[in-house]
């Protein structure tokens, strides 16, 4: 019976040592994720499902020379550990060589991140239900329909190698999102946030924001698709900017199959690609967006500046590609913080003659990787701004746009804030972005969806 929600450092160390003691391979790595995943869902102003799952995953990667394979189990007893090691070794002996395998890392030094909070780890189903009621109660009293999701993960991650590397970190994360709809089906408002520390969430305030948006968004009017000045709230900015972050792979760029490929060969390192006010950083030591201390190979994550003054300061180099190109491996940008400005959303609205205010984006899918062009729709709070004021809700619109174009067309930015960046509302990497005002955002058609 688990009396804790995840493996402690001592337990993780004992398990990895045990697993590696069964290893007969030239090289081996053990990764463990151990966690309790709790959630509460609500729909139509009441809880629809809730649950807690206690689980874990242990992966062993074994190598004979450059022949590598891995196996995964969710059981940590001796017999299972021996079996998973043997499976990975059996597979490794059978697969062809991976010429890019560089061997496992020896012991490393890590920056300790601040991603674990007791307040989140100790949250009970009853407290989760109370948080939900802080949204459903006011929604119901105002004759509105609230739906939403509270997602909590409490866990630890471990990497250990046969060469003596041992990395361990704990983390907690809470994501709360809600969509409030009007009973006539003409209005819908959304609000959401992700945090590591539960006490930084304010369910009542979040519910109130969604409620106000739902009421304001009733009876939307149609506007013409085309190029619009937009004010993107932070969630919508994150929805877009993270797509650019996912595209910053150095190898893809060097191979000529990325926006970050340079005409005629090479990549865009050092080239200005977006507005010079933009800076994007990943940092395990960050208080507001603590990235992982290490990646899956146990490589330390350090503070990385990806975009500086609008210029590509770094691309994501794997260990192999870094060695081949004479660079330092960077690790994958796990969460990020974007710089902001000092213009509030209210000021952005006041300064806008004609434009659209966008709450969040939906069903975002790549259309053309050459320009990081994606398509998707606006959702749950889209408003027309005329002469410095919100004048009406508007029907949702499909857009075909690239974060690169959007960040080139910047007019103003707000102070950056932590957001829930995923469309799904699941706990994700920490993302901090500002609200943004940008011109010439491309909308291609209207949607009747509310």
């Amino acid at each position: 019976m688990p009396d804790r929600k995840f493996l402690s450092r001592d337990e993780a160390e004992a398990i990895t040592r045990r697993a590696l003691s069964f290893s007969t391979a030239d090289d081996a790595r053990v990764n463990i994720q151990s966690f309790t995943h709790g959630n509460t869902r609500f729909a139509r102003n009441q809880i629809s499902t809730a649950g807690d799952a206690f689980d874990g995953q242990l992966t062993v990667a074994s190598a004979f020379g450059k022949k590598v394979a891995s196996a995964t189990t969710n059981r940590f007893d001796d017999e299972s550990l021996r079996s998973v090691v043997q499976t990975s070794e059996r597979l490794a002996k059978l697969v062809p060589e991976d010429p890019e395998y560089l061997g496992e890392l020896p012991a490393q030094q890590y920056v300790q991140n601040k991603a674990f909070f007791e307040t989140t780890a100790n949250l009970t189903p009853q407290q989760r239900a109370q948080a939900v009621m802080a949204i459903t109660g006011p929604a119901e009293r105002q004759g509105l329909i609230s739906t939403g999701f509270l997602d909590i993960i409490v866990g630890s991650q471990t990497v250990a190698t046969k060469k003596g590397l041992f990395a361990y970190q704990t983390g907690t994360a809470a994501n709360l999102t809600t969509t409030v709809r009007t009973p006539d089906g003409t209005g819908s408002g959304w609000a959401g946030v992700g945090e590591n520390d539960w006490t930084r969430l304010n369910p009542a305030e979040l519910g109130d924001r969604a409620i106000r948006k739902a009421v304001l968004s009733r009876n939307p009017k149609a506007v013409e698709p085309g190029k619009w000045t937009v004010i993107l709230e932070p969630t919508a900015v994150a929805n877009l900017v993270q797509l650019m972050m996912f595209s910053m792979d150095a190898r893809q760029a060097d191979e000529g199959r990325s926006f970050f490929s340079k005409q005629g060969g090479g990549n865009k390192l050092g080239e200005k690609v977006v507005d010079q006010r933009v800076q994007i950083v990943t940092d395990p030591a960050s208080d507001i967006a603590p990235a992982s201390s290490f990646n899956g190979q146990g490589l330390p994550n350090r503070r990385m500046v990806w975009i500086e003054n609008g210029t590509v300061a770094n691309l994501n180099y794997s260990r192999f590609w870094a060695q081949k190109q004479g660079k330092q491996p960077t690790g994958f940008p796990d969460g990020f913080a974007m710089s902001g400005g000092n213009t509030s959303v209210e000021e952005m609205i006041r300064s806008t003659e004609r434009g659209l205010l966008v709450t969040r984006l939906w069903y975002i899918r790549q259309v053309d990787p050459r320009t990081i062009l994606f398509t998707g729709l606006t959702r749950d709070g889209t408003f027309l701004i005329e002469n410095g004021q919100i004048t009406t809700a508007v029907k949702n619109l499909r857009w075909n746009e690239s974060p690169v174009f959007m960040l080139n067309n910047l007019e103003a930015m707000s102070a950056p804030v932590r957001v829930s960046a995923s469309e799904s509302g699941d706990v994700g990497s920490p993302v901090v972005v500002p609200a943004v005002k940008a011109h010439d955002f491309t909308f291609t058609s209207l949607s009747d969806a509310v």
């Binding site: 499902t49 809730a50 739906t147 999102t177 899918r365 009747d448 969806a449």
Partner: protein, 537 residues
């Protein structure tokens, strides 16, 4: 006390007392499951113990799923392997109704003590949830299956096929692709799943099932001057079959063509935006069916339960649509089923113990039925009674693993082929003056009520005066669901039929992945809005 309750309690007591004790120690200490764990009587005893604990704690209904998922994934690029992983996860989940509300808990420790702890925790969850609830959950009745078994109709268990054979097949396919001049990069993968699961409920069902899924896939990239283009292997779909699917897929033989088509896109003509007639092959159309028909006819979505993520549906309220709304032409029939051999959603019994039936979601172009679970079927009671049909679940409950709660997921949803005649692809093309044929699914996006969608593809062929005249690129069409399906004026016959599908369909919070097949013939649509997606940086 009803007789059924008595019998069940008797069984549960036995599990904890006499017969069970001898068997239970084998499962102690979260030992790995033996290969025959599914048939092991100890498994059944653990399930009964969990149900008994839930009932004792106050559950009015409980089900338990003990499950093991084995997964294998391997990847290559060009002439080398990039990863090979074997995954194995084992655990159980208990779902209960207490005070009219759902509760769920799960654990990877499949032990006698832990099943009791988790069952009690699920009941505590339900009680916590009930405090916020006003409408108690009611379940439609279902048949009891005290000793049911089902297995995917496979010929070759993918987990028994030598690793060398799998790697060799991918690397040979890569080599074929790389023979094509201009094809610079190729990635290929295989994914396999073997899911073994038991289901036991306080209503007396005990079901053992084993299902398989197999999916070989390739992506070829051609690089030209200032341009790159890709082609995915969309004419080889994922299937609920064994390794025979890989062997029969002509994967190696097709690789050269996929590479040629990627290279040809570099010099293809960018499409001129405008309205075109579209001839859509089933390698493409399955995804349009999935997004614009299968998702909007999920009853939980229609009723608002997925409003915060997956969205709601324009098919709402159901009473305004059932028997009334014209989705498409008279010859359009959309079927839901979980019985087709090789269907990714095919299964003997769903994850709440219901035997799925075959039903027409759209009949002669009109909305006829919706996807349901036991909780949802009663919401359509008026419609079913008016039709003289029983109020029963269509068996559309599914959970991606033991660690997640089951909820409504789509069955295989198919567009039935032309019933009157085996209309050929050539016939569909012959009647097009100015159009585009689309092969393969590409970029896809649809709004949260399933009205406005945009779809790309893999290969685009220009049709002029009934003939294919060349290749196009940067093509995507935008549509509004009812207008799009009502613009369908040509439906291919059985000869054009193909079953596509998705291995990774997301829904729910937390997001759960489902796999589902969609069969379709080729079909023709008139005057659809086509945009050019190419833009300059």
């Amino acid at each position: 006390m009803k007789r059924r309750d008595f019998v069940l309690q008797g069984a549960a007591l036995a599990a904890g007392a006499a017969a069970g004790q001898a068997l239970l120690p084998r499962m102690l200490g979260a030992q790995p499951p033996r290969e025959d764990w599914l048939q092991d009587p100890a498994t059944r005893q653990l399930a009964m113990r969990a149900l008994d604990a839930a009932r004792t704690a106050g559950a009015t209904y409980a089900d338990v799923r003990i499950a093991r998922n084995r997964q294998q994934a391997l990847g290559t690029r060009e002439r080398q392997i990039t990863f090979f992983n074997d995954g194995d996860t084992f655990g159980f989940g208990v779902r209960v109704l207490a005070n009219g509300a759902w509760g769920f808990a799960a654990s990877r420790e499949v032990t006698p003590d832990e099943v009791v702890r988790v069952a009690r925790e699920a009941v505590a969850q339900a009680r916590a949830n009930a405090t916020a609830n006003k409408r108690p959950v009611e379940l439609a009745p279902t048949e009891r299956f005290p000793d049911a078994k089902w297995t995917s109709p496979i010929q070759v268990d993918p987990f028994t096929v030598p690793i060398e054979e799998k790697v060799d097949l991918l690397l040979r396919a890569n080599a074929e692709a790389l023979k094509v001049q201009g094809a610079r990069f190729v990635n290929s993968n295989m994914f396999f799943l073997k899911a073994e699961k038991t289901f036991a409920s306080t209503e007396g069902s005990y079901i053992e099932q084993t299902l398989y899924r197999s999916y070989p896939t390739m992506n070829v990239t051609a690089v030209g001057t200032g341009d790159f283009q890709t082609r995915q292997s969309t004419d080889v779909a994922p299937r609920g079959l064994g390794y025979e699917h890989v062997r029969n897929s002509r994967f190696v033989e097709s690789a050269e063509r996929w590479a040629q088509e990627a290279v040809a896109k570099l010099t293809a003509k960018p499409v001129e935006p405008g309205r075109y007639d579209l001839v859509l092959l089933p390698t493409h159309l399955w995804l349009t069916i999935h997004e614009s028909i299968a998702h909007p006819t999920e009853l939980d979505r229609i009723m608002g339960y997925e409003a915060n993520y997956a969205g709601t549906s324009f098919v709402s309220p159901p009473a305004d649509y059932l028997g009334k709304f014209r989705y498409g032409p008279d010859f359009m029939n959309i079927q839901g089923e979980r019985s087709s051999a090789g269907g990714l959603s095919s299964i003997g019994y769903d994850d709440e113990g219901v035997k799925p039936d075959e039903f027409l979601i759209i009949k002669n172009g009109i909305v006829n039925d919706l996807q349901t679970t036991r909780e949802q079927a009663p919401w359509l009671a008026d419609w079913y009674r008016a039709q003289g049909r029983p109020v029963r679940s269509h068996g559309n409950s599914y959970a991606q693993s033991w660690s997640e709660v089951q909820f409504q997921r789509m069955p295989n949803v198919n567009l039935l082929a032309n019933a009157s005649r085996d209309v050929t692809l050539e016939e569909l093309i012959a009647d097009v003056k100015d159009g585009i044929l689309i092969d393969g699914d590409g970029s896809f996006s649809i709004d949260q009520q399933r009205y406005n969608a945009q779809f790309g593809g893999q290969v685009f062929k220009e049709i002029k005066d009934g003939k294919i005249t060349g290749l196009l690129k940067d093509v995507a069409y935008q549509m509004r669901t009812p207008e799009f399906w009502n613009s369908m004026d040509g439906l291919g016959g059985r000869g054009t039929y193909f079953v596509g599908g998705s291995f990774f369909d997301g829904k729910g919070q937390p997001s759960q992945v489902n796999a589902v097949s969609h069969g379709s013939p080729a079909a023709r649509f008139r005057r659809v809005n086509v945009i050019n997606t190419g833009r300059r940086a």
